[in-house]
């Protein structure tokens, strides 16, 4: 009984349920929000330490042996992703206290946030493919609701695209699950992996792989399936944008990593090239999309797409080092991208706009904010010794070792284009003097929601920003321990037998033991049944 593997899912569910129950009381909601986030962070740390020291940790929910019940399993990848969820969750919790309007708080902002985290955590921990679908839906519906909270025109327009295209992905996913069950007769991912290896109809296996690839590709916003992201991510309140940017697309990427290392490893020969070019085009189109933009959050949104390309590149190269690099990129990107969105929120609060042309002068006015942005932005561009550099370096090294020269070269060039956008923001927002025509921001505009702000508690906005910026720096400076974790992840993912054993191994014998007495009983009954009619 290892509760730590289930608690990261159950705790946010519980805090979500509690905060729904206390929907009348704002102070209570705010308290539950932060307390729940702190608890989630602690539990995720617990899980991380446990996985680091003990290896795979599993729990058979309901005490039904695998593959019959639902398995929750944490390997190193899950543990890292959960840890990131915990960190980002708390950062967002604190930040939201300062930015969320009363109306939003009243209509379920905090429960939605917690349930979103629960969905994310569930997706990271589940070992069951249909359960993964369920967590995806929890996450999606929570994100739908968060996206439209406030009900402005832009939000509605963005939400329609977001909702429809994500639902399309969900249906493809569901269709694939149905076909998968029809093909192999099981839903447990480890069991599926075993059975797919023996499957005779390799065409069906490939089709399933392709369907999962497209479905998760949509959720991850890979080329050419990313349209929903730039259309919607810049529309909701900034804390929501940040949360989405940090975590949501990464769930899609995580699923790609999980499914293609565990279940569909035999199809990689064919799919690798497709994925590689998908990754390359994702990087390029994303970064080019940002080059023409002059809206803070829109630039950042396009960069999410571009960064997704890096992560998928890691998977497409399909070596342990490349996987390590891809995961490093995920971790780095979660920290940095969230932070950049949070910073855009602060600048918006300070200057009342997201339009770069109208902003300026923050380098002199807010040096600490400038430092935080500088670190995050240049980290995103992969400048050493920040976190992004190591992600990029590992990927470049893996790419060159795998002799994928073109893809690696493009990955490097994309880094330069990332720098272009980041320098654009830096020059416009921080270095340039504030343009004459910008008036002092009105509080009405500042939170993007209901205009009845609590006192502008800037420190609550600064705290997460500074901490995340420091994280980006520290990940770079103390890259060794992190790299060891990443290398372990690379090993674990490329050798899924450990995962399968952790799920099936011990319970395989239990399954036999459980089945045995019934086989004796079942047979006469079934004979009866055959005889009767």
């Amino acid at each position: 009984m290892r509760p730590e593997v289930a608690l990261p899912v159950l705790l946010p569910l519980l805090s979500g349920a509690l905060s729904l129950l206390f929907w009348r009381s704002r102070p209570m909601q705010r308290f539950i929000a932060v307390a729940g986030n702190i608890a989630l962070l602690l539990v995720s740390l617990w899980l991380f330490v446990a996985v680091w020291s003990d290896g795979y940790i599993t729990m058979q929910m309901g005490n039904w042996p695998a593959p019959f019940g639902i398995t929750l399993i944490a390997d190193m990848l899950s543990a890292v992703m959960i840890l990131m969820t915990g960190i980002i969750g708390l950062a967002m919790g604190i930040y939201s206290l300062a930015t969320t309007g009363r109306g939003h708080e009243k209509f379920g902002y905090y429960p939605l946030m917690h349930l979103l985290l629960a969905g994310v955590a569930g997706a990271f921990l589940t070992g069951d493919i249909f359960n993964l679908y369920v967590w995806f839906e929890v996450m999606l519906v929570a994100s739908f609701a968060l996206l439209i909270l406030g009900g402005e025109r832009a939000q509605m327009e963005g939400a329609i695209k977001y909702v429809t295209l994500n639902l399309l992905a969900s249906v493809i996913f569901l269709t694939a699950v149905g076909l998968l069950y029809g093909t192999v007769g099981t839903l447990n991912m480890a069991d599926i992996a075993l059975r797919l290896d023996e499957a005779e109809h390799s065409g069906m296996v490939e089709v399933l792989a392709v369907m999962f690839m497209v479905s998760f590709g949509i959720k991850a916003a890979a080329f050419p399936l990313f349209f929903w992201l730039p259309a919607s991510y810049h529309t909701p309140p900034v804390a929501v944008s940040a949360l989405f940017a940090g975590l949501l697309t990464k769930v899609g990427v995580y699923s790609l990593f999980r499914v293609f290392t565990l279940m569909f490893d035999q199809t990689m020969g064919y799919l690798q090239d497709i994925m590689l070019w998908g990754a390359v085009f994702t990087m390029v189109t994303g970064v080019l999309g940002a080059a023409a933009q002059y809206e803070f959050r829109r630039i950042l949104s396009f960069h999410i797409v571009s960064q997704i390309g890096y992560m998928i590149l890691g998977l497409a190269l399909y070596t342990p080092l490349a996987i390590a690099g891809g995961v490093f990129a995920i971790v780095h990107n979660i920290v940095v991208k969230t932070n950049l969105f949070l910073i855009s929120g602060i600048t918006h609060r300070l200057q009342g706009t997201y339009q770069l042309k109208k902003m300026g002068g923050l380098y002199r006015e807010r040096p600490w904010l400038a430092v935080a942005f500088f670190i995050s932005a240049f980290s995103l561009a992969g400048i050493p010794p920040l976190s992004g550099f190591f992600a990029k370096f590992v990927l470049v090294r893996a790419g060159l070792e795998a002799e994928a020269y073109v893809a690696t070269g493009i990955a490097l060039a994309v880094g330069l284009m990332t720098l272009y956008s980041m320098v654009k923001i830096w020059n416009e927002v921080f270095w340039k003097d504030l343009p004459e025509n910008n008036h002092v921001p009105s509080p009405q505009a500042s939170a993007g929601d209901d205009g009845r702000l609590i006192k502008p508690s800037l420190w609550m906005m600064y705290l997460p920003v500074v901490v995340l910026a420091a994280m980006s720096l520290l990940i770079g400076v103390f890259a060794e321990p992190i790299m060891q974790v990443m290398i372990l992840i690379g090993d674990q993912l490329m050798n899924p037998s450990g995962y399968i054993e952790a799920v099936m191994g011990t319970s395989a014998s239990a399954e036999a033991a459980l089945l045995e007495p019934f086989e004796g009983q079942a047979e006469p009954i079934s004979e009866d049944a055959e005889g009767n009619p």
Binding site: M156, E157, L167, Y181
Partner: protein
């Protein structure tokens, strides 16, 4: 039976996709509705269909009488139906609000956030 169902489900998917490609938001949502129904039927069908043997165990017995229909896809579809309903309700209200704002049932008039 399954080949017939497969044909019908294929048709369901086709109509759904055709509807989703229209410019009207309402048609889009109806397309989504058709699509999720299609997916549910697909799960139900691929696992094999059985006549007149629901997965129930008669009172006082430990095992069902004879072969019964596979209960797992049923449970999965049940979950999927409810999820689809929730999502659909959300989508339906979304188009209502979107219509209030845009004043037209035309997706082409909703591209301000992209360009």
């Amino acid at each position: 039976m399954e080949p017939l169902m497969a044909l019908a489900i294929g048709l369901l998917y086709a109509t759904a996709i055709f509807m989703m490609l229209r410019r009207s938001i309402v048609k889009l949502v109806i397309g989504l509705l058709l699509l999720s129904n299609g997916a549910n039927l697909l799960i139900f069908t691929t696992a094999g269909m059985t006549r007149g043997a629901p997965p129930l165990i008669p009172e006082g017995m430990l095992q069902p009488l004879g072969d019964v229909a596979d209960p797992l896809p049923q449970a999965v579809v049940l979950t999927a139906i409810v999820i689809a309903f929730g999502v659909l309700a959300f989508a339906v209200v979304l188009i209502r609000r979107a219509y209030e704002i845009v004043k037209a049932d035309d997706l082409d008039k909703m591209k301000d956030t992209d360009t």
